[in-house]
């Protein structure tokens, strides 16, 4: 196992940040810790790095118990949200820092340090900036230097704390893909923390969804997205329409409408329920195709790149529905604000019981 966490607990005063959390991560994986802000994901990362002490529990990194080691003996690479580069040192010196502070006997010779730093900077495509100072670099460049610096000490595991959230959208996307490629080359067990579900879905081998200091679900992006374990995960992994109602004799109420309940809930007689529908799982047409179709009026049209977002007020529903249609369909159906449409709900997920985000 690359990283093994056993029964980690952490409280700040009254507040329980990590609640008896256990997690195993195979060597060489790239894992996303995904959750809303304040869910404990950064705390967990800092506990693994030794920057925060857990109240109880065990941390095993690459089969070595590091629970009680101080951060500098853990041999963990940590990348901070705001880079935390050493301002008064050049890019070269920043990356070489971890090697230069080694005890004299373990310290590689100067030539070797230079070679290693140059190699790493080439890897992160920053070899041209050897003698620059951090203030002369852009945010994306700084984060790449920070990554090279973390990798310089051959860390057991690499931890990234919201590494891209301080960058603008375009750079963020670029760096994301680049990090995935880099990880495929170097294969160091890595965890990155994010609150951006898109980032987690795109980048990670496995996603661990965290809420209130507990793991809600873990699995591949596909598994987590397609088979969310509970309402929280479903809601957190993308835009969604939520309808509060009841299940009654195999029928789910959707405002004044009733839909067939999914198979696993067919036998429920009476229970409160939440029905979730993703915006892209909603079909739009100008003519009624099905008895279950809802009738509605488009209230708002939003351009979202290749997709068009629609806000539709439907008869019999308390709140408007958010739908997404391909641009082509939007043009073909001559949709616009105020147009009457029929809404087909293609796929629903129903969770029973109460839940809050």
């Amino acid at each position: 196992m690359g990283i093994e966490l056993q029964n980690i607990n952490k409280t700040f005063g009254e507040y329980k940040a990590i609640d008896n959390l256990s997690l195993s991560i195979p060597s060489g994986d790239l894992i996303a810790l995904l959750g809303p802000s304040g869910c404990g994901k950064t705390t967990l990362l800092r506990i693994i790095a030794g920057l925060e002490l857990a109240d109880s529990g065990k941390i095993i990194l690459e089969n070595k118990d590091t629970t009680n080691l101080p951060p500098r003996e853990k041999n963990v690479g940590f990348v901070f949200q705001h880079y935390a580069l050493f301002r008064r040192l050049t890019v070269f010196e920043n990356v070489a820092f971890g090697l230069k502070v080694l005890p004299f006997r373990e310290r590689p010779p100067k030539k070797e340090i230079r070679d290693r730093v140059e190699h790493l900077l080439k890897l992160v495509q920053m070899d041209w900036a050897l003698n620059r100072f951090p203030s002369q670099l852009s945010g994306g460049q700084r984060q790449r230097v920070a990554l090279a610096r973390a990798l310089a000490v051959n860390p057991r595991v690499l931890l990234l704390d919201e590494p891209f959230s301080a960058l603008d959208a375009k750079v963020r996307q670029e760096l994301r893909r680049w990090l995935r490629k880099l990880h495929d080359e170097i294969h160091v067990t890595s965890i990155f923390v994010t609150h951006d579900q898109e980032e987690a879905l795109e980048l990670a081998d496995k996603i661990v969804v965290i809420n209130k200091g507990r793991i809600e679900q873990q699995g591949t992006p596909q598994e987590v997205y397609d088979h969310p374990a509970n309402a929280f995960v479903y809601n957190f992994l993308g835009n969604v329409n939520v309808f509060h109602g009841r299940i009654h004799n195999g029928k789910v109420s959707l405002g004044a409408h009733h839909l067939d309940a999914p198979d696993d809930l067919k036998n429920v007689e009476e229970k409160t329920s939440q029905t979730f529908v993703r915006p892209h799982e909603i079909g739009i047409s100008r003519i009624r195709s099905n008895d279950n179709d809802l009738e509605g009026t488009i209230r708002e049209v939003r351009l979202q790149g290749g997709q068009i977002g629609l806000n539709i007020e439907c008869e019999g529903l308390d709140s408007p529905i958010e739908a997404e249609v391909p641009r082509e369909l939007f043009v073909n159906l001559q949709l616009a604000k105020g147009v009457q449409v029929f809404v087909t709900i293609n796929r629903v997920r129903v969770f029973t019981g109460d839940y809050e985000i």
Binding site: A49, G50, L51, P70, P71, R72, E73, K74, N75, V76, G77, F78, F80, H82, A84, L85, F86, R87, R88, L89, F97, G98, V101, L102, F133, S135, Q136, A146, R149, A150, A152, V153
Partner: protein
């Protein structure tokens, strides 16, 4: 034409007014009064001037003033850094009180401080009593002067380092720890270089203040000719003897040395900053 160019480049308004005010202010408050020293000295003529400022007693007082101010500032560098560190990094009861205490040397009439020190370190004073059996004399020695100057210069160092330390993200230290640096390595390789410009400013201020300090020193120094007479005291005693020209001659030399040292330290700082900013 030139006016238009300046206007286009300066987005912040009010350059003319504020610059004009600055120049006027510096002239009225600093340059004009200080130039009186210069103009008072001129009528004296070259020979008497040289004679006045190279008298052995005067030379000894320059040396004393500069080296006591230097060592006091050096000590303040350590003590001030430590105090600023404690005030910024830790939370403890009475922190506000301690923080306010730091400024006290600013507020206290310096003569009061001088009398306090003299009483404390006199052979019958609380501390002097303890030191007397060890044959350690503080009062009437350069050590006493240094102690007084340490007191005077201390807040300068603390107050210049504090904001820089406060602004510094903890993450930078955490990053160093994660990379395997010991606390000492983190301090010497990361923290100290980061704080150095502020530290230098603080020490410069403490040093400059120390050279000019009069009130707190004369009580503890004993003012023994050739031994514990500081330069400001030389000026005062010349004034007492109505030797105005001689006093301003000594003052002029003191002023020139101090100013060139401040200039030098500012240049060092500028160079330090430029290196990693540009």
């Amino acid at each position: 034409m030139a006016l238009f160019q300046r206007k286009r480049r300066n987005i912040l308004p009010g350059f003319g007014l504020s610059m004009g005010y600055t120049v006027f202010y510096l002239s009225a408050i600093v340059i004009v009064p200080l130039s009186m020293i210069f103009f008072n000295t001129i009528p004296m003529g070259w020979e008497p001037f040289v004679h006045a400022v190279t008298a052995p007693r005067v030379l000894a007082s320059y040396t004393l003033s500069f080296y006591t101010a230097f060592f006091a500032a050096l000590f303040d560098a350590f003590a001030g850094l430590l105090t600023a560190w404690v005030l910024v990094r830790y939370r403890f009861p009475g922190k506000q009180f301690l923080d306010a205490l730091v400024d006290l040397p600013f507020a206290l009439p310096t003569a009061v401080a001088g009398i306090c020190f003299a009483t404390l370190y006199s052979p019958v004073g609380w501390l002097g009593q303890l030191l007397a059996p060890l044959n350690l004399q503080i009062i009437n020695t350069p050590t006493g002067i240094i102690i007084a100057l340490i007191f005077i210069g201390f807040p300068f160092v603390v107050r210049t380092i504090q904001p820089v330390l406060e602004e510094m993200e903890q993450e930078i230290e955490e990053a160093a720890h994660c990379l395997g640096a010991t606390r000492w390595q983190t301090f010497t390789k990361i923290l100290l270089p980061h704080l150095f410009p502020a530290l230098l400013t603080g020490v410069t201020l403490a040093f400059a203040r120390g050279i000019g300090e009069y009130g707190s020193v004369i009580f503890i120094a004993g003012n023994l000719p050739m031994k514990t007479e500081i330069a400001p005291l030389m000026i005062m005693s010349k004034l007492d003897q109505f030797d105005y020209a001689g006093a301003s001659a000594v003052a002029l030399v003191l002023l020139c040395i101090s100013f060139s040292m401040l200039l030098l330290l500012n240049a060092v700082q500028e160079w330090q900053q430029k290196e990693y900013r540009s």
